[in-house]
């Protein structure tokens, strides 16, 4: 074996407690790990399901697949939202067809009588589900994010549009890319012109981190629903983000939804004061899409590199403590 191969195929450390140690590459590329994640990550933590405003009326529902389990999230006759496994114990069949929240359906409560109930909780209008028998509280998982988001009028905004893109890359590669901005200078050359990177900060909490991006003084950032003159990109473990922009009166959410080891779907939803997009809002979403495509190209290249097996474990840089937190949480989940 050559020195080159030895140097690069050896894992730096079997765990990632050292701040510069990234999650070893096999956790991204091994199909068995994805099966493990269904149980240990998506079967344990609170996972974002959808927005309550899309099922505002009694009897309205949408479906959402978490891991291998298809769920029905429904607004009951008492106004509360409940979630069920989309499986009737009586008939052995799904109760309803797949129905995204952007095209919510209506189902009678009696049709879900034989379906197993699943835990639901919310942060403002954001609905989360949990498949564990004994989960931690959503308030604990979300930490300060819950208080901060509930102080904002998120429920006053309507769903404007959804863009769902399939990307050829492990979901954690994109999650890591979202969580740091070292790539922004080279990869988002239009967007970065309006950002003061030296004044921007990364905030790391237990299961949640925030990228605070300070706008350049010349950027008109009056249009925002939060107080600080900045864009705030919140990541909530395991696969949800909420994007509070400074330059649009609205917000966006991302679900980084794994399809298999090597593919995920980015489900991007945008919310504005009015559900019908104005020309300015369409232009805003198009700019957001441009950033997504720039990231897709980057993470697909990273993924192609990871798959070669030449690198057993990456070393994180000093501005990547959010990525380190993401990788630590993954390893904690695998080891639990």
């Amino acid at each position: 074996m050559t020195q080159w191969e030895q140097a690069r195929t050896e894992t730096v450390s079997p765990d990632i407690t050292e701040p510069t140690n990234a999650l070893p590459a096999r956790y991204f590329t091994d199909p068995e790990i994805f099966e493990l994640e269904k149980e240990k990550i998506f079967g344990q933590y609170w996972v974002y399901a959808g927005h309550a405003n899309t099922i505002a009326d009694q009897g309205r529902y949408f479906t959402r697949t978490v891991g291998d389990r298809e769920l029905v999230v429904r607004r009951g006759e008492d106004g509360d939202v409940r979630a069920f496994e989309n499986f009737s114990a009586r008939t052995g069949e799904p109760v309803v067809d797949e129905t995204p929240m952007t095209d919510a359906g209506r189902v009678d409560a009696t049709e879900l009588e034989d379906a197993e109930e699943v835990r639901v909780d919310s942060i403002g209008p954001l609905l989360f589900v949990n498949l564990s028998d004994d989960p931690m509280a959503l308030a604990e998982q979300a930490g300060v994010m819950k208080e901060r988001l509930e102080a904002l009028p998120l429920g006053e905004y309507e769903h404007g549009c959804r863009i769902a893109s399939e990307v050829e890359c492990n979901w954690k590669v994109f999650a890591g890319n979202y969580s740091e901005c070292d790539h922004c200078q080279a990869n988002h050359q239009d967007w970065i012109k309006g950002i003061e990177l030296n004044d921007s900060e990364l905030e790391v909490n237990d299961y949640h981190w925030v990228l605070h991006y300070t706008h350049d003084a010349e950027v008109e950032d009056e249009l925002r629903i939060h107080d600080a003159r900045e864009a705030q990109f919140h990541y909530l473990w395991p696969n949800f983000t909420i994007n509070m922009y400074g330059t649009a009166d609205g917000y966006g959410t991302y679900i980084i939804d794994p399809i298999d080891t090597g593919r995920f779907r980015l489900i991007a939803d945008y919310y504005f004061r009015d559900g019908d997009l104005s020309e300015e809002e369409r232009e805003f979403v198009r700019t957001s899409r441009q950033l997504q495509e720039e990231d897709f190209e980057l993470v697909e290249r990273q993924w192609a590199g990871l798959k070669t097996g030449a690198l057993a474990q990456a070393q994180l840089g000093p501005n990547e403590h959010t990525v380190h937190r993401l990788h630590q949480l993954a390893q904690e989940a695998y080891d639990a």
Partner: protein, 125 residues
């Protein structure tokens, strides 16, 4: 004597003696990518599904002239985005080569106005 059924899509390289027939327009794109990577040649459609032409021509033809317009019209015909090969076939009817279409798709995607709900399938935003 039975009449031989032709798959709805066919393409060939004008510079080489290679061609491909397929029911799936994206197989023509895969053929182009393989062939172009090795030879640098473009590949031209020699047959496209007549239904495709009708789908794109439904509206006033004068209004349909950009690639994004073609995608916007074709995506309604498919559940999960228009296959990039179908878009390339429709564009070839308008004088744009397969290679030029793929380049333009990439450029428009990077501006955010096209996206892929699944690999090699397009929707317009």
């Amino acid at each position: 004597m039975s009449e031989q059924r032709h798959p709805p899509y066919a393409a060939s390289c004008p510079d080489c003696d290679v061609d491909l027939e397929s029911d799936a327009p994206n197989e023509i794109v895969d053929f182009y990518r393989r062939h172009h990577r090795v030879t640098g040649h473009d590949v031209a459609f020699t047959r496209i599904d007549p239904a495709l032409g009708e789908a794109v021509d439904e509206d006033d033809l004068d209004e349909v002239y950009t690639l994004a317009d073609v995608v916007a019209q074709l995506e309604g015909e498919y559940d999960d985005g228009a296959p990039i090969g179908a878009v390339a076939a429709a564009m070839s009817e308008r004088g744009t080569s397969l290679g030029e279409t793929l380049e333009e798709v990439h450029e428009i995607r990077m501006n955010g106005a096209l996206y892929e709900p699944r690999d090699d399938h397009l929707r317009a935003f």
